[in-house]
Symmetry: C2
Subunit: 443 residues, 2 copies
Amino acid sequence: MTELISAVEAHDIRFPTSRHLDGSDAMNPEPDYSAAYVIVRTSGGQEGHGLAFTVGRGNELAVAAVRSLAPLVTGRPAAEVLADLGGVSRRLTGDSQLRWLGPEKGVIHMAAGAVLNALWDLRARRAGKPLWRLLSDLPPEEIVDVVDFRYLEDALTPGEALALLRRAEPGRAGRLERLLAEGYPAYTTTPGWLGYTDDKLVRLAKEAVADGFRQIKLKVGADRAADARRVRLAREAVGPGVRIAVDANQAWNVGQAIEWLAPLAEFDLYWIEEPTSPDDVLGHAAIRRQVAPIKVATGEHTHNRVMFKQFLQAEAIDILQLDAARVAGVNENIAVLLLAAKFGVPVCPHAGGVGLCEMVQHLSMFDYVAVSGTTEDRVIEYIDHLHEHFTDPVVIRDGRYVPPARPGGGAEMRPASRAAYAYPHGPRWTASAAAGGTGKERP
Amino acid sequence: MTELISAVEAHDIRFPTSRHLDGSDAMNPEPDYSAAYVIVRTSGGQEGHGLAFTVGRGNELAVAAVRSLAPLVTGRPAAEVLADLGGVSRRLTGDSQLRWLGPEKGVIHMAAGAVLNALWDLRARRAGKPLWRLLSDLPPEEIVDVVDFRYLEDALTPGEALALLRRAEPGRAGRLERLLAEGYPAYTTTPGWLGYTDDKLVRLAKEAVADGFRQIKLKVGADRAADARRVRLAREAVGPGVRIAVDANQAWNVGQAIEWLAPLAEFDLYWIEEPTSPDDVLGHAAIRRQVAPIKVATGEHTHNRVMFKQFLQAEAIDILQLDAARVAGVNENIAVLLLAAKFGVPVCPHAGGVGLCEMVQHLSMFDYVAVSGTTEDRVIEYIDHLHEHFTDPVVIRDGRYVPPARPGGGAEMRPASRAAYAYPHGPRWTASAAAGGTGKERP
């Protein structure tokens, strides 16, 4: 009997992180890190796991969106679906009625990404490989085939993408060995949350350097005086040889960004992240021209490949921060990696959240082995939150990600955690409703 | 006792329009025109009506998003809410957890627009005025106050907006009289749906001219030969003095748009609408440079004011097509009208759908009376679908919109229609499930 995709389940999982101000920044003062968690099941008993990351309220909408997309995949032969993930991607993002809700943006697009990531996870498990290895072993033609080049061809054609990938082929084996031996560079945002005291910031910044990190990141944008003080403390704590990035989480308009950054420049900032609206390509370009040599970085809220294309065309960014769970999954992220390689812009993924470190490392490692072929000026974000809930948590050694060896894409959450943090009826929510968290009324 | 906002209800209303191919275009072959329909209720028994328009599947997500936003408004004093719709707008679009789902785009943003439009409807009813009149009578300071200028200030400051509005004040009374006497120019898309036969196209095009329309619009982008034939037939039918716009509904990439339009130029096309991805500001600019004198128009999928700002800054469009139900309601549309006035680009709203004609006419009439001060090269789209379901359906006379006189914003649907087309349990759906429509499985 043909094995079918028998179910696409969506689960609402939330962690009450707002209680400790982990993850606090200028725009997200009290997030409850959450996931619209997807399990794709086959009639043969196999599973694939994926998720869309949110910060609390609204996670129910991402869950509902997965359920709205589920009929586009459910009931189809598993082998056929997994052999044509390019076609599945186009079906999920191109449904003629559902695409009105985007197109290719917001809740419906994040949900498409979660489903696609679960399918890639399933495919990697069936191949017995970690996702980064599965992708790195694919022939260039198949990589090009999973990408939707619609609206990209003025910047990157399938032929150019193929040439890029072929150019990287000769060195694959050597880079694979080096990756396994040395890992992939990371930076840490752990010291820099806005809700932390100065003492905690200094202590965590020193620990980061001691742990081998060569870059840390601080949240800024809520208070000018506090930012200057915190950046100075951080620079004193880490010394001159460690990069300090700052992240405004969209707090400013174009003029404010330029003004706010001027007095911080003396502390040798490496990049400014999300200085303004994530939709404002031209605004980022204007900021970049004014704040150099501070680099401009964005991407965690960039909703699709068409926006990334424009950030690159407009020379609006120095650093491209793709996100495993914002765009339409592995497929669209491959498009973004190819665009970045074409334009010569380094990709430094957004991570943290729920499972983003576990997922996004696969994309960077694939990029190194098979696309850009370099880790020069490339770092994956690392935040030490919530990894204990995953079956294959990231391993950081000397400030570098150790390549995962277990089959799959990294998103699988431990069943006990899924049960405990199920919202709103899991025991971690019912037992502590009085302690606050995402369900409460806004003031 | 203080009158409160006692409820924000959301209803799933769908019309099985796919059965007759009304509304068929290159990207929407079989839409079921739908609304996430909002009723705001007060403890005093008053109601405000608004909606988010969708094309079928996925309407349930817009409905769910309204429910997720409802607690931000429910339970507050009605007078206080209605006196500070700027503050309410910022609360709905800026909730620190919900904004992660956008920010300011997709389902959550459309839902915010539906709630805001319902609140404006309520405010207009309480004032006993049609919305266009309410807005036209507001002092410039109050208009500026309802706009969120965040991320706009590199293009338009509150001070500049105030100056624009003050400049328009002296002529308000005269334009008001002229509007009441002459109405507002319209164009019609009724002849041009892709699913129609050539005979039907020609017949409807001739009827449009006979009815007084000076512009029609045809859908293109599915078949090159058919497009050339249909545009020729339309030009022969309407004669040289009537404008013909074409609408590709995002069918092309940048190069395709330029190639596809070249052989159509001989038929004296007025504008090309949505030639490519609605996110592609730079792509529209490139197309515009190549296809002049054909004008480039877009906006019905432009998700917020930051995108409109860039379309204007990049000189990417000749015609700005705002939509009553895509962005965050009246508030954000006022921002867009102000931006367009600053850049001197005419606004020709998108309409059709479910209730969009009824809603958007208020914005254009307000623009004429109090913002741009002109109807030169401005037309509101008109499509003769589904008006019978509204309590105050648009009135078109000699190809012009007659200003509505009844209090409110135009979105109120007749209770009998709401009951009949409730999805999935209304009688029009339960009685005809076998006839197809949005609920069916995709092939």
